[in-house]
Amino acid sequence: MKTLKVNGKRIKVDADEGTPLLWVIREQLGMTGTKFGCGIAQCGACTIHIDGKAVRSCVYPLSAVTESNDVTTIEGLSENGDHPVQQAWAELDTPQCGYCQPGMIMAVAGMLNDMPNPSDEQIDAQITNICRCGTFQRVREGIHLAAKKS
């Protein structure tokens, strides 16, 4: 048994320490907003925050998380789905199939924590998530819009 702080709540989990956080979140905690895409940290669909920093949870083992870490998933990014990134995404109707978008939104929100007004070059360097529908044009526009909102 290990206690995690997820979306502000302390939760006990019972899983092998080698289990990636992605599967702890999805299968032990039953929170399915964080997606499985590749399992090798290539696509970013599984992006969550640990202490405000974006990490790819499919390769982040439970053993690397301590009780003092703040784990944030898409479900906890905002109380009412109104984080500036979520607002910008809604305004631009960014998602297509939407499967990559929780990870995309978490990656963008994590970047904005450190870089409140990123340039296009910084976006290119920081946001490496894959979206097969190809929403990048609106993702880029949405990042600039979210930066204005926050």
């Binding site: 990636p20 976006i123 894959i130 097969r132």
Partner: protein, 730 residues
């Protein structure tokens, strides 16, 4: 693509059938739960329209939603005819089982070939209009006035004379009991208020918060998780596995041999969690009989395809004039060989399905592009009559053609047989998804063009050699061995009604397009854009080569053969003008035009190629004439995305085989475009009216060739095979 394969069978009477069996639906108890209000009355006006007492309108959408926006577009069309308040519109998926029980009232569920909207718009608009007439009739009867004196607007019905009014929700119950009208008049596009508007999608909100439940997210009480490995070589078989080696691993509940009626053969581990199942599967010793294709590789493929380039026998897809005479009289003959590899769909959500099987019921939850094919798969795999099976569709985490196949449904039902009554979710790993795709067909093309002394194109021979999708997936659809779909966007006009959406853009005096079918041991499938993709590359890149050989402007060279295709010429001219074609500004531009899935499309690409061969795509201008634009902002989104899909294929993607096994097993070796490489896409919508063309696929056709031609403009080098990878680095 099923509609395309089978021919279109759209019954104008479908909504009437739907309305007339609504009562039967009630007695059979097959209406979706939750549609009866508290006092037990039903709010279904007809099969398409359900109205609750609070005026909420639920539009039933049978086609699948995988990001392409069909769901919202169809709801807009129904709402337009219904005259309801768009703010009160929501949606639901009817199930294929309900549809079957109601004589297929919702028509085909198959969602592909850019058909979702254009294949359903007529009967769904009629459904909306019929529902409006029934609501008005119900109000008129209540007031004792003629229906002709009443009208509906924004979910309210008014009587002109007495100024009485009532809302849809108040008369929906009565309306549902009326006989449907025998004739409806549909609105002209010029009268549209809801359709044609750039409205927001109906399904966005839950995609931003993680609340939307995809197939991969299904959770049922007592559910167990399965991970599967199918024989890595096509045509091979599972021989044995050593269950003892993994039986005591944490969470493991069992190991199951999974052989399906579709010919797949593999093994799944079932555990309390997917992570446990997959860990154990990785450790499971498995013996395969790799079968006859265990030595198949790229060299074997190349040999096979090259053999067809000059073969004597070939299926003729389009011929006119006298190609032999044209070549004999030519001043010059230009020749080039092109190649397009296999590609995987790689949707972000790997294949998955969930099933509960008991002795008399088989329920499946899955993301599918064809609910009815999934239902048939559940029945075939379970051995239960189709009436005892049901499929609950989710929104798809990408489809692109892959999820039209029911292989993973068969598999999950086979696994569920070993756990009667227990919900089983089968989740493929990304590696499994890469290895067991239904890949974009691989072909080569030998192009030959004859020019006269004035540089005029006098003859063109396009020989395609390679794979047929139908031969692999639906051999019954071949015609005397010929796969007509191979000739998408090259087909002759007026030959086959269901190929009219895929005719050639140019008028050539002497032309031969033929196909030497060569089928490698690779499972082919419908991949977004299908055969239009490589055909547009072959045609458009070679037209560029011919223009260069003739020392003609590529735009003028094309337009000289588009006199009979004014809509194609219009989109081509539009992208040329917007992009600054012909300007001496140091930019390197490439053009492409095609016609596919019923839409006229063109693109102009600007590229920069660095000294060391790095290609940067600076700008794309794309135009589409899809006839009717139901939701312009969603069309723009589809066009933008189609370039990411098409250019990922051009720049990075190929599936190759070593000893019969796919070599690219995850995104590190099968890369997909990321934000840093996406060019700015400017979309020009030119709906000319009078028809419904596809949107999801057509512009993919022009993505790769426009960039390939721009690369030539920048470097003088012709790229003739995909992917580009390091080709310019030499």
């Amino acid at each position: 693509m099923n509609d395309l394969v089978n021919g279109i069978n759209v019954s104008r009477r479908r909504f009437i059938v739907g309305a007339s069996v609504a009562g039967a639906g009630l007695s059979l108890g097959i209406l979706p739960a939750g549609k009866a209000s508290a006092d037990g009355h039903l709010d279904e006006v007809n099969a398409w329209v359900v109205i609750a007492p609070d005026d909420t309108v639920t539009v039933r959408v049978a086609r699948s939603e995988m990001g392409q926006g069909t769901l919202t577009g169809l709801a807009q069309l129904v709402a337009e005819e219904l005259e309801c308040d768009w703010e009160k519109v929501t949606w639901e998926f009817p199930t294929p089982g309900q549809s079957l029980a109601r004589e297929r009232v919702w028509g085909p569920f198959s969602t592909g070939g850019s058909f979702g909207l254009r294949g359903s718009q007529q009967y769904m608009r009629e459904g909306g209009a019929a529902a409006r007439m029934m609501l008005i009739e119900a109000a008129a009867q209540k007031w004792g006035v003629p229906a002709a004196e009443c009208y509906a607007e924004n979910s309210v019905i008014y009587h002109k004379g007495s100024r009485r009014k009532t809302s849809f929700g108040k008369v929906a119950d009565a309306a549902g009991k009326l006989a449907p009208p025998t004739e409806v008049r549909l609105k002209q596009e010029s009268e549209w208020k809801v359709a044609g508007q750039p409205l927001k999608r109906l399904d966005t909100a839950d995609k931003l918060t993680g609340k939307l439940v995809y197939g991969a997210d299904i959770q049922l009480d007592g559910m167990l998780l399965a991970s599967i490995k199918d024989c890595p070589v096509m045509g091979g078989k599972l021989v044995s596995y050593d269950e003892v080696a993994v039986r005591d691993m944490p969470g493991v509940r069992g190991v199951v041999k999974v052989e399906t009626a579709l010919g797949t053969s593999g093994v799944a581990v079932v555990a309390d969690t997917w992570w446990q199942a997959n860990k154990a599967l990785e450790k499971l010793p498995i013996e395969w009989d790799l079968g006859p294709n265990a030595d198949f590789d790229d060299a074997a493929l190349t040999e096979l395809l090259e053999d067809g380039l000059d073969a004597d026998e070939a299926f003729i897809g389009n011929a006119g004039g006298d190609i032999g005479a044209a070549f004999a009289a030519a001043d010059r003959v230009v020749e080039a060989v092109y190649k397009v590899p296999s590609q995987n769909h790689a949707p972000m959500e790997p294949m998955n399905a969930t099933a509960v099987l008991t002795k008399d019921k088989c329920d499946v939850w899955c993301p599918t592009q064809d609910g009815e094919a999934a239902l048939a798969g559940a029945s075939e795999a379970s051995g239960l009559p189709i009436e005892q099976c049901e499929v609950y569709k989710t929104i798809l985490g990408g489809g692109f053609g892959r999820r039209g196949r029911p292989d993973y449904v068969h598999q999950v039902v086979e696994v569920a047989k070993a756990f009667p009554g227990t919900p089983i979710k089968l989740q493929w790993s990304r590696e499994e998804d890469q290895k067991h795709g239904f890949f974009h067909p691989t072909t080569m093309a030998k192009m030959r063009g004859s020019l006269d002394a004035d540089g005029k194109l006098t003859g063109l021979h396009l020989r395609i050699s390679g794979q047929s999708i139908l031969a692999g997936l639906a051999p019954q659809a071949l015609q005397d061995g010929m796969d007509r779909l191979v000739f998408q966007s090259l087909f002759k006009q007026g030959v086959a009604p269901n190929m009219e959406d895929h005719v050639i853009s140019y008028d050539f005096e002497n032309l031969l397009v033929d196909h030497a079918m060569r089928n490698p041991p690779i499972r082919p499938g419908f991949w977004r854009g299908v055969n239009m993709n490589q055909n547009a590359i072959y045609m458009e890149c070679f037209m560029d080569e011919l223009a260069a050989a003739a020392v003609r402007d590529p735009l003028e060279f094309r337009l000289a053969h588009m006199g009979k295709n004014p809509k194609g010429a219009a989109v081509l001219k539009a992208v040329a003008e917007r992009s600054g074609w012909g300007q001496k500004d140091g930019k390197h531009r490439g053009l492409a035009v095609t016609y596919g899935f019923g839409s006229y499309v063109a693109a102009c690409a600007d590229v920069t190629v660095s000294g060391n061969g790095d290609v940067k795509i600076d700008r794309i201008v794309a135009a589409t004439d899809c006839g009717t634009a139901v939701n312009p902002q969603q069309i723009e989104a589809q066009v933008e995305g189609s370039f990411v899909y098409g250019l990922s294929a051009l720049l990075y993607q190929e599936i190759t085989f070593d000893q019969g096994v796919v070599e690219q097993q995850n995104f590190h070796t099968y890369p997909s475009m990321r934000i840093k490489d996406m060019p700015k896409v400017e979309t020009i919508l030119m709906p000319s009216g009078g028809f419904y063309g596809g949107v999801g696929e057509p512009t993919i056709g022009v993505a790769a060739p426009a960039v390939m031609n721009a690369i030539y403009a920048a470097t003088g080098k012709r790229v003739r095979s995909l992917p580009l990878k390091e080709q310019l680095k030499a």
